[in-house]
């Protein structure tokens, strides 16, 4: 198993990836996922979703989860 990571919009462009897969070993929270792929602090306004539902950075993440990071939404 692994953790699927997705990035959207300006964050996708900044990170340079649409999606990534990482090994779940040593990953406890969405914050850990972020730090596994970035050496920058997460932007204060960054939004997080786990398995397509909003979550916060300290929410627990398990093997097989999909974790998404994106900027404030601008639809409508």
């Amino acid at each position: 198993m692994a953790i699927q990571i997705r990035f959207f919009a300006s964050l996708r462009e900044r990170v340079g990836h649409t999606s990534l897969s990482i090994d779940g070993d040593g990953i406890g929270s969405a914050r850990d996922v972020w730090h596994a792929v970035s050496d920058q602090s997460p932007d204060e306004e960054m939004l997080v979703a786990i398995n397509k539902s909003y979550a916060d950075l300290d929410r627990a993440v398990q093997d097989g989860d999909e974790v998404a990071f994106f900027p404030p939404v601008t639809g409508g």
Binding site: K52, T74, G76
Partner: protein, 144 residues
């Protein structure tokens, strides 16, 4: 209820008309409150020539469905319809349709507006505008 993401242009007025005709019982929904958002050719003082609307497939639908289901329950609507465009968009294209159908006008007005505000603040869509001087991401939606 119906929630749809569209990858090509749609006519919101035909959609509302067809939805009412095919989905609503005649004589029950006395009030239809509809909001349509359309791409402008200006934003924050700059000319905008086109736009790309990105979304999070799966999550976007789920957010819109949850929001619509909650609005129907909270406002005791007869029904509701939400359509949102994604992909390449030009000024004058319709981006979003939110329609609330109820027996009385207060519920329809309240629900339509509440759905639009929820959509604007929570549905995972992102706009990248093309200006004459280049491209930029829209950074944040303003409160309605």
């Amino acid at each position: 209820m119906r929630v749809e993401i569209r990858e090509s242009a749609f006519d919101p007025w035909i959609e509302v008309s067809e939805f009412r005709r095919t989905q609503l019982a005649i004589g029950k929904a006395g009030a239809s409150a509809v909001f349509v958002g359309t791409m402008r050719d200006f934003n924050e003082g700059d000319d905008v020539t086109s736009m790309v609307l990105e979304h999070y497939p799966g999550m976007t639908e789920r957010q819109l469905e949850d929001m619509t289901r909650e609005a129907i329950a909270a406002h005791q609507l007869e029904d509701a319809l939400v359509i949102h465009r994604v992909g390449n968009i030009v000024p004058g294209d319709d981006i979003v349709l939110v329609a609330a159908f109820s027996a009385h006008r207060k519920a329809a007005f309240d629900a339509c507006r509440a759905m639009m505000e929820t959509l604007k603040s929570t549905a995972p869509f992102w706009k990248k505008e093309t200006l004459t001087s280049g491209e930029r991401w829209v950074e944040k939606n303003t409160a309605g």
